[in-house]
Symmetry: C2
Subunit: 196 residues, 2 copies
DNA sequence: CTATTCGTTTAACATAGGATAAATAATCAC
DNA sequence: GTGATTATTTATCCTATGTTAAACGAATAG
């Protein structure tokens, strides 16, 4: 495996950022300083349950999910693929211990941004604070919309919507991780697929 | 009815703000300038469906809900009571037309903050941008947690949790508005209540 | 290549909550 | 206060999804 150069990856990340807010060169450099490129293998935990989340990840290659255990059952909260960020916001934004883990689903390469230092940069570069304000605002809106989808569509409709909106998920993620994301059991998901 | 003085209400609002981020006097004054005190009667729409949301409301007295129509059925997205803000974020934060309305549930007094002007203040007062960043981050985290509650608790558990977390809702809001908030029909809600 | 483990599907049965309709109860207009 | 409207409950029946168990298929280690 050829290891990707950090600079190339940071460029991708900054392109991603530009969709939300354009940064000055100095601000980009400041973010680069607090970022690390990490290679990590399938099925490993990028972050495990039980400590406060102080990192925001950008996925360069591969995929990951946030999951937790509810009454001993493994529940997927969300998926993320290349060119997107992933973070356990209920811990990152509150300082509380996270009950959730980030698990890598395919051999991956991610940029880990040190959030403690990032939040300090907010005071020096309001443009960075604005960038992440916008990123989290967009994620907030997505989450509000997701509630509607969960509450008022049947399991089958949710499955169809997932295929439409995120075909990657079905192609690249084991079904056992998808069912809980859809809010159903693995058996129900299998039944729904069987009807097609 | 004695009309409340705007200054008293703004003080309450600034106290609310202080829980998130303390503002300078100048920043508070700037917000006061773009805020209006509005009295509005039960069952009226504070904002109706179909235009872009450009206002953030703070409820001084009374209560409200955000709702929309799904296949002709009235769905409640959220409730708000005195000393809290309410806004249709899927429109406010994206600029898209809102499919949702804000309906007043009891005779109310609210502060209407002009969001177009507020967002302009972000450039002049980073402290105001930070304040609303924190407000929306907290709302985001609440929403992430709500998904878990919706997806993995029974209707009865969700009802019990509501009584616990927001007894106001049950006491002050018609049941017909509560059932859709819980993701069930009015008949199911009634059945659940009947079992107690 | 084979054995073992892990993931997925199928089957049979149970149940929470939806749909419809009708009966009460509460609220509102006059 | 009376009648009309609106909100809530109760009853019946029905369906989607849960539960458990077993069968089948795919991936992995050695």
């Amino acid at each position: 495996m050829v290891k990707t150069d950090k600079m190339d990856v940071m460029d991708l990340l900054f392109q991603y950022f530009r969709k939300y807010n354009r940064l000055s060169k100095e601000a980009e450099d400041a973010i680069e300083e607090i970022s690390k490129l990490i290679a990590i293998k399938k099925n490993e935990d990028l972050q495990s349950i039980g400590h406060t989340c102080r990192t925001i990840y950008f996925i360069n290659k591969g995929s990951a999910r946030i999951h937790y255990f509810k009454d001993g059952i493994d529940i997927t909260e969300s998926f993320a693929f290349e060119n997107n960020i992933i973070a356990r916001v209920e811990s990152l934004l509150t300082g509380k211990t996270s009950r959730k883990a980030i698990q890598i689903l395919e051999d991956s390469e991610v940029v880990a941004i040190n959030a403690t230092q990032l939040f300090k940069l907010y005071d020096i570069y309001p443009e960075i604070e604005r960038l992440f304000r916008k990123i989290f605002e967009a994620a907030y809106v997505d989450t509000v919309n997701r509630i509607e989808a969960i509450q008022f569509h049947s399991a089958e409709e949710r499955y169809d919507a997932l295929i439409n909106d995120a075909p990657n998920v079905i192609l690249r993620v084991p079904l056992k991780y998808i069912s809980s994301y859809l809010g159903i059991t693995q058996v129900s998901l299998s039944r729904i697929r069987g009807m097609k």
